[in-house]
Structure formats: structure tokens, C-alpha cells
């Protein structure tokens, strides 16, 4: 389940194992049978750390419940353990649970495990509710950075961007700094820290301070990371707004990936059923699939531009098909034996191929009518249907993309856009509108007051006046704002950083701009320029982006200076404060793989986002009482 974490440049399984050990230690403290009551939000991230089936046996875990008000479900266990985030509203629910359980006079031991950190505020609240004394253990489980893949860490802190940039609540940054300290404890001190943005500065300051605080206790580990790059999300508001065009990015845009899993409409997967089951009805439950580099094929295609995925799948199909054909050449018993021994692997590869062909097909329906996936004998069955049906959807997708690209190239960003108008008039989903309008605003360094007011009015009239609060939030975070100066920096930034590449090669990319079919994500350009030739070359542009840029050095204990082998790559940890998209991750992976790149990247973030989830997190939807 976790082997793939060890294969990257940095063995992230160490982090996972450390986290697992801590979990065990806590659970060991509660002797006897146990039931865990979960803050539902935590189950996903925990799934990446622990394997329940295994842990269950080891630790005498009897039951798992979801935290909800009222009475606890009955369970014949000695210990009830609450796994919760330190949120006041959750404390009230816990208090309710405990009080109602007390009434039943059951001799149970209660425990709380705060994730990722215990909070005096919450304990105070439990005290006010009169239940603090009921807990035998109150502890914290420091789970800041969770390994998502061999090169990817996320804190999965939903509200991080909103808290930092809208509410000036820097709690998640404190956790970030703590998480980075944990990382350094396991992987050695990171000698160089670069950063851009207010939050980046704050995190770096906290890290340096914490280093002083923990001085002397640090372990003597040869540093694994050469440098850390901290990037504020708000220096690049544009990228997440754009529709991601990598395979993984599109899966996320269309279906949403949560904690490494995607839920897909089941119809396309029906064909894969074994023949014996053919008579059964179509499945109605969404198909849940785990997506990570443990799956060989997925690792290969996830970061490709979607237009390159078809070719890759077809190539793979040929290889697999050829491998199966080998059986005809297997003459001797020995040859047959060898063939048979490879069968499980081949069958896994075949089923993986079938799955991804189906997914690609689903996405193709939505994204494109022009290019289709070359079919192989294995996948032909799923290709037949749904060609003309998807016309409308794919056209909308195409039109949307066209407008996005116009904005990104700076076409007519200062006028009301007719496509957006039409979309509003047709009452397309509000988030889509907000994404587009925000994008126009960002690409124009703010909208002209008239345009700004026009859009806002249209949105309020169409979707309801309650969205004024959301519009306010977007304005505060700089996503959708009126122009304050007449000067629009965006074209300068675009040109200097080469954010738009006319001839993006989607099949065999030579530049990161392939991930958005032309647009090179600003955030990743900054990382790229930092690696070579260095930020000094773009001082002017850096000054146009919000927040300070800086470089800090951390002293290494004597004897731990790395002696780099000739041609050995540097390892850089890029930390996105406020979220990162799969397309950006793909772009960094592309840079890691460039032959003369010289740098390999590990990616960390507060949350994996896409434009939709991001905008959603900024929306304020007062739940209106019915009048």
C-alpha cells in the first residue's frame, strides 16, 4: 500500500512510518478494547497513514464511528477515543456525546486525540461544558504533512488559503512551520530557504525561530533537501483559475480527486465485468479508484497533456497485446512457465489499461470532439458509444478554454466578455462564472470599475444578492477587484516570464507550458528561474508580485555538508502556501525529469486544489431561513 512512497528521490515512507509509530504509541496508552470516533474530515488523510485492517488487529480496535451529535452508538468497548481537529464546534459535539454516555453509567474511558495539535482553547471549551475531567488522555497527533505520493506532501488543510489571505488567521502557517521542522528532523536541516510572499516570509521566520528554540536537540542527519522554496498562492492567483489540461488535472477538474481517490460514473466500467456476470444490471454505485504512482501506467500518463494520453494508451495497449501474443511463441515447458509467471503482472497491467481507457473516454466526451483515442483490441468496446452525444458539453468546454486562453494572452481583458455574459444569462454554475471573471480580473490587474460593477450586478441579479459576501471575499483576496492603477503589470510579467508559449507541444513537451496547452504556470516559472539562472535576473517582475522575496541560510552542523557528486541533481522542496494544482505538480515533475535540469523537486502544500474547490473555499453562503 505504501511501497510507492519509497521509490522517489526522497523516501517519504520514513515520514509515514514515523506518523504510524506515533499513532500506535498513542493507541497503546489506552489499554483494552477501543472504539474510535472520527471527525469525518480526518478519515481521508488517516487512510494514507494507517491501514485499518492491519492496525485493527494490532491494537484491539473494535469499532469506528463518525462524530455526530447526540448519543454515541453502543459499543462494548473499554475505551472511546475521539480523533478530532481542534475546532470549537467539534468540542460541543464531543461534550454532548460524553454527557449522554455518562447518563448511561457505562464504565468507559474517554480519550481525545487532537490532530494536528492540541488546543488550549478547545480544552477550555470542554472545561466550560463540564466534561474535561472525563478524559483520561488528552493528546495531540502531530500530522502536519501527509505523504500523498513519492514526491508529494499535503497538509490537506481545507481552509488554509481562506484563513491566510481572507481572515488573517495564520494558524495553518504555524502548522506548516511545525511540519517543516518535523521534516527537517527526519531528513536533515535544509541549508537554503527561498521564498516569495508575505506568508512565505512568516513561515520562514517561524522556522528560523523554531530552529533557535530547538537548538541542540537536532539530530545529526545528512541533509536530503538542498533547498526549500516557499511560495505564496497569492503571488500566482492566475494558475489555479485556468482549467488544467493534464490527465490527472482533468480528472480532478471533472470528477474531483480527494485524498488520492476519485469517484467515477460507473457506466463505462461495466464492460470490464467478467463474462459470467454479464447478465447483471449496470452498477449504480460510483466506481472508486485510487490514483497514485503505485500504478505503473498511471504514473506514466498522469502528467501528460490530455492530448498526448491517447497515444500513450495505444502504445501501451500494443505492448500488452504483444506480451500476450508471446504465449504462441512459448514452446518449451520452461518458456510456458516463464510466461505464466508474468501473467499476474500482465493482467494487472491490462486491467489498469482498461480503467484508464475508460477514464480517458469519459473525459474526452467532455473535452474534445476533434481528437480521439486510438483504439486497440482491448479498448474498442468502450469507444463505440457517446461520440455525438457529447457535442454540447465538449463545445462548452472548448469555448470556455478559448476564453481562458484569450485572457491569458491579454486579449480584450478590459471589456465585458460576451461569453461570460452568455454564461450568466444561461445561468451556468456560479463557480464557473467566478473562475472566469476572476481570471479576467487577474489578467487585467483588476477590472475597470464599470466592468467590475457590471459583472457583480449580473451575478447578484442572477444568482442572488446573498453572493455579495462571496464577491467581497474575492475582492479582499485580490481575485476579483477593481483596477486601482491604470498600469496593468500582467503583460510585462507574461512576457518576462514567458508565461505564454505559442507553440506548446502537447505530445512531446519541451516546456512546462504544455500543462495548460500554452500557458506556463507562473508559480512554476518562478521555481524554474530560481534554479537557473536565479531570481536576480527577474528582480523587476518579482517586485510586481505581492510580498517580499528572500533567501535565508541555515547553518549546518560541522561535517554534514553534502559533497555533491559530479552531475548529481539538487533536491528542492517547493512548498505552496494556500494550495497547488495537479497541473503545477505535473510541471514540476516535468522539470525534475528534464535531462539538463539539474534539480529534482519534491512538492508540499497546505492543500491540493483546483479552481473549483479553491473558489468554493472562498464562498460565503449564509444559510438563508425560508421566509
Amino acid at each position: 500500500m505504501s511501497a510507492h512512497l519509497s521509490y522517489g528521490r526522497v523516501n517519504l515512507n520514513i515520514l509515514r512510518e514515523a506518523a504510524r509509530k506515533d499513532l500506535r504509541e498513542f493507541l497503546d496508552k489506552c489499554a483494552g478494547s477501543k472504539a474510535i470516533v472520527w471527525d469525518e474530515y480526518l478519515t481521508g488523510p488517516f487512510g494514507l497513514i494507517a491501514q485499518y485492517s492491519f492496525e485493527r488487529q494490532m491494537l484491539n480496535l473494535e469499532k469506528m464511528f463518525t462524530l455526530k451529535g447526540g448519543r454515541l452508538p453502543t459499543a462494548d468497548v473499554k475505551n472511546i477515543i475521539f480523533f478530532v481537529r481542534p475546532k470549537l464546534e467539534l468540542m460541543d459535539i464531543i461534550a454532548e456525546n460524553v454527557i449522554s454516555a455518562d447518563k448511561m453509567h457505562s464504565p468507559r474511558d474517554f480519550h481525545i486525540l487532537f490532530v494536528p495539535r492540541r488546543s488550549m482553547l478547545c480544552e477550555q471549551r470542554l472545561k466550560e461544558q463540564g466534561v474535561l475531567g472525563s478524559f483520561i488522555n488528552i493528546d495531540e497527533y502531530i500530522l502536519d504533512l501527509i505523504p500523498y505520493d513519492s514526491d508529494l506532501l499535503s497538509m490537506e488543510s481545507e481552509g488554509a488559503f481562506r484563513e491566510c489571505y481572507l481572515e488573517s488567521d495564520q494558524t495553518s502557517l504555524y502548522h506548516t512551520a511545525k511540519g517543516l521542522m518535523t521534516l527537517q528532523a527526519l531528513y536533515g536541516t535544509i541549508p537554503q530557504i527561498f521564498g516569495k510572499g508575505e506568508c512565505a516570509r512568516h513561515v520562514a521566520n517561524m522556522m528560523l525561530r523554531m530552529k533557535r528554540e530547538f537548538a541542540g536537540s537536532q539530530t545529526q542527519i545528512l541533509p536530503v533537501f538542498d533547498s526549500l522554496l516557499l511560495l505564496d498562492r497569492n503571488i500566482d492567483l492566475l494558475t489555479p483559475l485556468a482549467t488544467q489540461l493534464t490527465y490527472e488535472g482533468l480528472i480532478d477538474e471533472v470528477y474531483g480527486i480527494t485524498n488520492g481517490y476519485v469517484k467515477l460514473p460507473p457506466e463505462k466500467f461495466a464492460a470490464q465485468k467478467k463474462q459470467g456476470e454479464a447478465g447483471k444490471d449496470l452498477p449504480t454505485e460510483p466506481k472508486k479508484m485510487q490514483l497514485n504512482s503505485a500504478e505503473e501506467l498511471y504514473a506514466e500518463i498522469r502528467d501528460k497533456n490530455f492530448n498526448g494520453v491517447g497515444a500513450a494508451l495505444s502504445k501501451k495497449a500494443k505492448i500488452i497485446s504483444a506480451a500476450f501474443e508471446e504465449r504462441h511463441n512459448a514452446k518449451t515447458v520452461g518458456e510456458i512457465k516463464q510466461f505464466v509467471s508474468q501473467l499476474p503482472h500482465m493482467q494487472a497491467a491490462r486491467s489498469s489499461l482498461a480503467n484508464h481507457t475508460s477514464i480517458a473516454e469519459l473525459i474526452k466526451d467532455i473535452t474534445s470532439e476533434k481528437k480521439y483515442i486510438y483504439s486497440s483490441p482491448f479498448i474498442i468496446s468502450v469507444l463505440v458509444n457517446g461520440y455525438f452525444l457529447s457535442d454540447a458539453a465538449s463545445e462548452a468546454f472548448f469555448d470556455n478554454l478559448t476564453v481562458e486562453q484569450e485572457f491569458m494572452t491579454g486579449v480584450d481583458t478590459d471589456k465585458v466578455n460576451a461569453y461570460i455574459e452568455d454564461c450568466i444569462a444561461q445561468r451556468d454554475p456560479l463557480i464557473k462564472i467566478l473562475r472566469l471573471v476572476s481570471m479576467q480580473s487577474v489578467c487585467n490587474n483588476g477590472l475597470k470599475q464599470k466592468v467590475f460593477d457590471y459583472y457583480r450586478r449580473e451575478i447578484l441579479q442572477t444568482y442572488g444578492y446573498e453572493h455579495m459576501l462571496t464577491l467581497n471575499n474575492l475582492e479582499k483576496t485580490g481575485l476579483l477587484k477593481p483596477q486601482t492603477s491604470t498600469r496593468n503589470n500582467y503583460p510585462t510579467i507574461r512576457k518576462t516570464l514567458k508565461l505564454w508559449m505559442e507553440d506548446a507541444n502537447e505530445q512531446n513537451p519541451n516546456d512546462i507550458s504544455y500543462v495548460y496547452s500554452g500557458y506556463a504556470p507562473l508559480s512554476i516559472r518562478l521555481a524554474q528561474v530560481l534554479a537557473r539562472p536565479g531570481w536576480r535576473s527577474i528582480e523587476e517582475v518579482l517586485k510586481m508580485l505581492p510580498g517580499p522575496h528572500f533567501e535565508e541560510r541555515q547553518q549546518l552542523p560541522a561535517g554534514l555538508h553534502k559533497k555533491r557528486q559530479q552531475g548529481e541533481n539538487r533536491t528542492t522542496l517547493v512548498f505552496f502556501l494556500g494550495g497547488v494544482t495537479y497541473a503545477e505538480i505535473a510541471a514540476l515533475r516535468f522539470l525534475s525529469q528534464m535531462e539538463d535540469g539539474g534539480t529534482e523537486y519534491i512538492i508540499a502544500t497546505t492543500k491540493l486544489i483546483n479552481g473549483t474547490s479553491w473558489i468554493k473555499s472562498l464562498m460565503d453562503r449564509p444559510e438563508a431561513q425560508t421566509l
Binding site: 470549537l88 502557517l173 525561530r209 431561513q625
Partner: protein, 791 residues
């Protein structure tokens, strides 16, 4: 060297030796006679309570504290009540248990720390006897009172008194007793004549040691081993019974032929002991009685005290301090006459070549670490055994107590330089080693009352400098405890962990500073904590003012209020004259109202605030919202529609769907809905109703601001190609191809594309052609594309 075995005495298969540790440095005129003595295990300090020389009622006894080598550490006249028992705690504090049940605690240097009582009833009945004992829970005290009742305090640092049940038939003190810890429970074992009882929390159980010699009439002394596992009983018939403390097994019974009660009786065992024994002491005689029933006798020439150790017995006398123990098997191997053990050979080699470590070279695959660490240990042991330090630890004891504890002990003795030296030598991580020692030094330093704050702060900062992991806040806390607030604040300045400074600052009522430090730490939970504290401490006005100067705290508090205290949030905005946020506040509040009037009134408040904030857009939009609500209510009342709460757009849609065209028109004008959107709205609403006639009329009413392609598409969406065709001709040339394709008219699309000579459009059409059925069209298009491409 040759005489190393001279003081060995055989006992069964093993040997016992008595070695001298120190020539005592003290000078006691009358020896240990008339002294109450308490010596701590692990080579700990020795306390003496000496009766006054002149027997006068006004004369007070003298309390003296010495190191194990007899170096004086404290001496002062005892001014409190009569003492029954002295004892040492696990952290080298002295306990003096008085007759009245009061227990006084002193540190190594005789400084009074605190006192506690063993219970009120003791005051009257008095303590007859008392014992200090050690268990995994800490140091405990047990007493027996004049009323023959036992009281236990398991841990003096977490005082909980337990009065044990009555012992039937016991008058006065028992003939002998001991405290033992078994199965996580502490019990008292006592003898009353020949009867033996175990006394625990709830009951008093008579017990019989298996195989105790029947001649005995009374058990007159008992000893429990260091580990609480073994018990020895001495009877008035001179028999010594040895067995397990659970009284299930008997190890042995020795007849000593001495019938008087021994002054002291202690176990002498060592881990992996070959021949455990019990050491009995009478006035002039020391008897070692082994389990093998053999004995060794030593004559004592002075008054002595025995101290049980983990691996032997120390014998402290007025002039000498000796260690009696079973010879460890390693020593036996090396020094036993004619031994051929490797160690013995190595010793021979050493004699020849003067270098023991030469031998290592002949060992293959021998990891050097044990050798190196043993050498280090020996060096540390030698330095603490030095006369001036006076901690005569054996290697076994040292390993059991750990370096950490040894360092602590040195620190208690204020032997800071030696402690630091040892930490450095053992390469203890600074954090646990040197820094810890320095912290203790500093804590001690801040208590020097005569030195001014300034110089102490400077001295501390200079000495501690950049030492890693120093907790200045602990030092400051100590200074504060000594009443030196200013010094504490100065010291806190050195604390790198701002978070650590906060609790003390709050305690010292420096809450403003505490808030700044909490913010500095970045720990938002800490900031919340201080804010909550301030909220309860200050009046509201001052509290708000304080927050105002600390934006980070303010925004956190706002967040808190947003979820928990809406009204306070309003007050906060009011104070800051933040009319925009107030407006938002009212808007948010308005949605919580289920009554229209209430909602409208809150929205009006929002409008007022937005106006004050000069936010024209928001004010106007809110006014519009109110207008819409009123309109919806009117219409709901008149027509019975359920419009209230819908957006303007949805209201229009509903009106159009329900054929209220007039009302829709009115809204469209009143709210200045852009033509384009209105056309879309009406178009969609009509198509949804499939009101094709009305749609056609609408299309002809005037020139469409959105063109006619939407008309085509809307009809196609409703699967009405017939209606759709009506509008194809009206579509602009640029959209013609799309329109034709929408109704599935490939020919028409091809026509239009070719006419426009647009390569892109031709390709679009081409992509839709099937190679089998549209062959002619395909060819035409392909031709046209190549011409278009040429241009």
C-alpha cells in the same frame, strides 16, 4: 596486586569482600554513639542528628549533613520538635519525621523546603516509629502511632495519606516491621511476638512463613531486600529465616547462635547473585549469613551503621566507610587463584606488557564500543568517587541510576563544573547535558539575594550564552518565585521560545507583553489563550484597545467571535468604525431571519452602513434586494406564486414560465436587466414551455441582441428541429456553419463553410462527415479546403 584477594572470604561457592571506601573526613568525638543516622543509598549523603554534649534541657541537638566521605555540607542546631526518624528522598532531600507526625523537608544543604503532616490524629497519639521507603511511585513515609495504627504516604510529592486497618491484639509498637511494595501495592509486614501480619489498604491478614523454626517465640527483626523480593526474619531463638516476600518460598534458615536482637539487619545481594546473604549487626559483631548456611564474622571496633545497596552493604563508621559485597563473578574470574579465565590471562599480559588493551588486537570481530564505553564509565566513576565529591557508586549502581540521575545528583550538590565536565566527556547531547546543568546553575544563581538584578541577569546570559535548549523561562520562573519580578522579566528576554514566556508573563500580570510574545511565537492557539485571559482580566474598553494595537490578535479574535459571539463581533466593528464590515454583518444576520419584516429591517441597517462606508455599489445592491423582496411578496400575495427568496433572474424565469409577461417586463425595466440577458431568459423560458408560437413572435418583436444562433440551439435542445430551422437563415454568416451543424444539416453546413472559405470551419464539417455515407460531400470539402489552404 597480589593481595587483592586478601580480604576475600569464602561463603558457599562465592566470595565476599569488605573494601574500604573512605577514611571519613568528619571528626566525631563520640563516634556514632547517641546519633540518629540516615544514609541514602547509591552513595548518597549522610545525615546525623547528634544529641547535645551537655545534658541540659535547653541544649538542642545538632543536625549535620555529610557526604559519603564525611565532608560536611550543612550543620545547624535542631530547633523543631523531637525527631523520630530521618530519611532521604530519591532526589536527595532530607526528611525529618517528628513525634507529632510533622514531616520536615530539607535540601542537601540544610535549607528548609516545606513540611507536611501525617494526619491530625497523630498529634495526640504521637509517632512511635517511622520508616522512609522508596517505590516506583517515589519516596514514601510510613508511621506507626501510639494507638498502634499505621499510616502510609505513598509519595510525598503527591501526598495522599492512607490509614491502614487495625491490627488485632497489637499494643504499642510491633516487635518489628517493614514496608514492602508488591504488585503495585504497598503493604506493611509486621510481627507481633510470633505472629506475622500483612497489612494492606483494606485488611490485616495473618501469615506464616513456610518452615520457620518452631523454637521461636517472637520475631524480633526483619529485613526486606532492595528489590522487595526477599524477606529475612530473625527470631529470639537465634534463627534467621530467609525466603521470598510473598511468603511462599523458603530459601534457607541459619542458626546464628546469637539470641539478642541485632541492631541492624540488611540483605546483601547483587544482580545475578551466587550467594545472597543477610548482614546482621550487633554491638561488636558483624555477621554475614549466606543462604548456604555458612557465615562470615567480622569484629567491629566502633559504632557502625549499615546501608543497603543494590549490590551490597555499606558500613559507615566514625572513622571508616566500607563496602561489603559478594565478589562479582568477573572479579572472581580474574583474581581467583589459578584462574585461567580470559580476564585473568589478560591481567597477566598486562603485568608483562603494561597495556591491557593490547589484548584486543587478538580478538577478531570484537566491536570496540563496549571497551570504549566501559573505559568512559570507569573514568566517570573514579571522578565521582573522589573524596571531595564523595559518591561511592559501584558500576552496577551507576548503570541502574543512569547518567541522567548522576548528573542531577551532582547538580543538587552544586558541583556544576564536574557535572558539565562529565556531560562533555560522555558527549551527552547538549540539550540533556550541559544545558540542563547550566539551567540549574542559573536557577541557583537567581536566588542569591544580595546580588543586584542587573548583574545576575548579565552573569546568567554570559554563562549560558548560546547554549542550546536553555529554558530561560524556567529560570525566570524561579526568580519570580523568589519575589524578583524585575529579574524574571529581564531573564525572559533571553528566552528564544516566545511561547514559553507567555504563561509566566501572564502570572506576573504582564499580559500585554504576554500577548506580544504569543503573537511572536506564531502559535495561534497561544494567542487565543492570552486573548481569552485578557478578556476576563480587563474591562471591555481596555480589552478592545489592546486588541486594536495587535492586528494579529484582533483578526483571530474576530474569527472566534464570528463563530461564537456574534454580538461582540458587531461591537468590534463599531469600535473600529468599520462600516463596510458592519454592513456585511447585517446582511449575514438578515439571512437568519425567517420573518420578512425583520429581514428587511436588517437589510436597511446594512444599507445605512454601506452608505456610511461610501460603498455605493453595495448600498444600491442591497436596496435592490429589498425592492425585490417587496415585489416578490406582493406578487405572492396577489397571484399565489412562491417567489419570495428567489434571485431576480429566477423570479423573472418563474414569471415568464407562468405567463406573467407584464410583471416580467416591469421587473426587467425596474431592475435595468441588460437586454441580452433578458432575451436569453425569455428564450429559455419559452422553449422550456415549448411555446413555439410565442417564441417566434418574440424573435420577430425586434432584432435579437444575442443573435439567432441561441434560438436554433434552444430548439435543438428541446429536440424540435422543425422550429430550429426557422431561425437558421437569420443567423449571422460567422455562425451559419454552427447553426447548420446544430440541426444536423451537413450539406448546409458544408455550403456555408465553403462559401466562407474558412479552413477551420471546413475541417469542423469534415470531422462530422462519415466516410461511407457522405463521400461526395467529403470530396467537395477536401477540395475546398486545399484551395482555402493555398490562399
Amino acid at each position: 596486586m597480589a593481595f587483592i584477594t586478601a580480604n576475600w572470604n569464602p561463603l558457599g561457592d562465592a566470595f565476599y569482600r569488605k573494601i574500604e571506601l573512605y577514611d571519613m573526613g568528619w571528626s566525631l568525638r563520640d563516634g556514632l554513639k547517641d546519633c540518629m543516622v540516615a544514609a541514602a543509598p547509591y552513595g548518597g549523603p549522610i545525615a546525623l542528628l547528634r544529641q547535645s554534649q551537655r545534658p541540659s534541657p535547653s541544649a538542642r541537638p545538632q543536625l549535620e549533613i555529610y557526604s559519603s566521605s564525611g565532608v560536611s555540607m550543612a550543620s545547624f542546631p535542631w530547633k523543631s520538635g523531637p525527631v523520630r526518624q530521618l530519611g532521604w528522598t530519591v532526589c536527595d532531600d532530607l526528611l525529618a519525621i517528628q513525634e507529632d507526625g510533622t514531616v520536615l523537608i530539607y535540601d542537601l544543604f540544610g535549607t528548609f523546603k516545606r513540611h507536611f503532616s501525617m494526619g491530625n490524629e497523630v498529634v495526640q497519639n504521637q509517632v512511635l516509629e517511622a520508616k522512609v521507603f522508596h517505590s516506583p511511585y517515589g519516596t514514601g513515609v510510613a508511621i506507626v502511632t501510639g494507638a498502634s495504627r499505621f499510616t502510609l504516604a505513598m509519595n510525598i510529592d503527591d501526598l495522599k495519606l492512607r490509614r491502614l486497618p487495625e491490627v488485632p491484639g497489637l499494643q504499642g509498637a510491633p516487635s518489628c516491621w517493614a514496608v514492602l511494595t508488591q504488585d503495585r501495592q504497598t503493604k506493611v509486614l509486621l510481627a507481633n511476638g510470633a505472629d506475622l501480619y500483612i497489612l494492606d489498604n483494606t485488611s490485616c491478614t495473618p501469615v506464616t512463613p513456610p518452615g520457620l523454626s518452631p523454637q521461636a517465640c517472637s520475631i524480633i527483626n526483619m529485613a526486606v531486600s532492595f528489590s522487595y523480593k526477599y524477606l529475612a526474619l530473625f527470631t529470639d531463638s537465634g534463627h534467621l529465616w530467609m525466603g521470598s516476600t510473598n511468603l511462599k518460598d523458603k530459601l534457607s534458615e541459619v542458626e546464628t547462635k546469637v539470641r539478642s536482637a541485632p541492631k541492624q539487619m540488611v540483605w546483601s545481594r547483587r544482580p545475578k547473585s551466587q550467594q545472597p546473604s543477610v548482614v546482621l549487626m550487633w554491638d561488636r559483631l558483624l555477621l554475614v549469613a549466606g543462604v548456604c548456611k555458612e557465615t562470615i564474622q567480622y569484629t567491629l571496633d566502633e559504632e557502625c551503621v549499615c546501608v543497603a545497596e543494590l549490590d551490597g552493604v555499606r558500613i559507615v563508621g566514625a572513622s571508616r566507610h566500607e563496602m561489603l559485597q559478594e565478589v562479582p563473578s568477573a572479579c572472581e574470574d580474574i583474581f581467583k587463584i589459578a584462574s585461567m579465565a580470559p580476564g585473568a590471562l589478560l591481567l597477566e599480559a598486562h603485568k608483562e606488557y603494561e597495556a591491557a588493551s593490547f589484548g584486543k588486537c587478538f580478538l577478531s570481530n570484537f566491536p570496540p564500543e563496549p571497551f570504549v564505553s566501559m573505559c568512559r564509565d570507569l573514568r566517570v566513576l573514579n571522578s565521582v568517587r573522589d573524596y571531595s565529591v564523595g559518591i561511592p557508586l559501584t558500576h552496577t549502581q551507576y548503570k541502574q541510576m543512569t547518567v541522567q540521575v548522576l548528573i542531577d545528583r551532582l547538580v543538587y550538590r552544586k558541583l556544576y563544573p564536574l557535572a558539565i565536565e562529565i556531560c562533555r566527556y560522555l558527549k551527552t547531547p547538549e540539550y540533556q547535558g550541559v544545558s540542563r546543568v547550566l539551567k540549574h546553575w542559573a536557577c541557583c544563581k537567581v536566588q542569591q539575594k544580595e546580588e543586584p538584578d542587573e548583574s545576575i541577569a548579565r552573569a546568567v546570559s554570559v554563562k549560558l550564552g548560546e547554549a542550546a535548549g536553555i529554558s530561560y523561562s524556567e529560570i525566570a520562573a524561579r526568580a519570580y518565585e523568589c519575589g524578583r519580578t524585575e529579574l524574571a522579566i529581564k531573564l525572559l528576554e533571553f528566552e528564544p521560545r516566545s511561547g514559553e514566556q507567555v504563561p509566566l508573563l501572564l502570572k506576573m500580570k504582564r499580559s500585554q507583553l504576554g500577548l506580544s510574545k504569543a503573537i511572536e511565537s506564531g502559535d495561534t492557539d497561544l494567542v487565543y489563550t492570552v486573548v481569552t485571559y485578557l478578556k476576563n482580566e480587563m474591562n471591555r474598553g481596555d480589552f478592545f484597545m489592546t486588541l486594536r494595537n495587535q492586528p494579529v490578535a484582533l483578526s483571530l479574535y474576530r474569527q472566534f467571535c464570528k463563530h461564537q459571539e456574534q454580538e461582540t463581533l458587531k461591537d468590534l466593528f463599531n469600535q473600529d468604525d468599520d462600516h463596510h464590515e458592519l454592513g456585511n454583518f447585517y446582511v449575514r444576520a438578515s439571512y437568519k431571519e425567517s420573518k420578512l419584516e425583520a429581514r428587511l429591517s436588517l437589510l436597511q441597517s446594512a444599507v445605512d452602513e454601506y452608505n456610511k462606508a461610501k460603498n455605493e455599489f453595495a448600498a444600491k445592491a442591497t436596496e435592490e434586494e429589498m425592492k425585490l423582496l417587496r415585489f416578490q411578496r406582493r406578487l405572492d400575495e396577489e397571484k399565489g406564486e412562491a417567489l419570495l427568496g428567489l434571485s431576480l433572474h429566477d423570479t423573472l424565469h418563474a414569471l415568464l414560465s407562468a405567463n406573467y409577461h407584464k410583471q416580467a417586463e416591469q421587473l426587467y425595466r425596474d431592475f435595468r436587466v441588460p437586454d441580452k440577458r433578458y432575451w436569453w431568459l425569455k428564450l429559455t423560458a419559452l422553449a422550456e414551455k415549448e411555446d413555439w408560437d410565442e417564441l417566434e413572435k418574440f424573435a420577430k418583436s425586434k432584432k435579437s441582441p444575442i443573435g439567432y444562433l441561441p434560438f436554433v440551439e434552444v430548439c435543438v435542445k428541446r429536440h424540435n428541429k422543425y422550429e430550429a430551422k426557422k431561425y437558421v437563415s437569420k443567423v449571422t454568416p460567422e455562425q451559419k456553419v454552427k447553426a447548420h451543424l446544430a440541426i444536423g444539416d451537413l450539406e448546409g453546413a458544408a455550403e456555408a463553410a465553403i462559401e466562407r472559405r474558412s479552413e477551420g470551419e471546413i475541417s469542423t464539417v469534415l470531422a462530422r462527415c462519415s466516410p461511407t455515407t457522405d463521400r461526395a460531400l467529403l470530396e467537395r470539402l477536401n477540395r475546398a479546403r486545399s484551395t482555402a489552404a493555398k490562399k
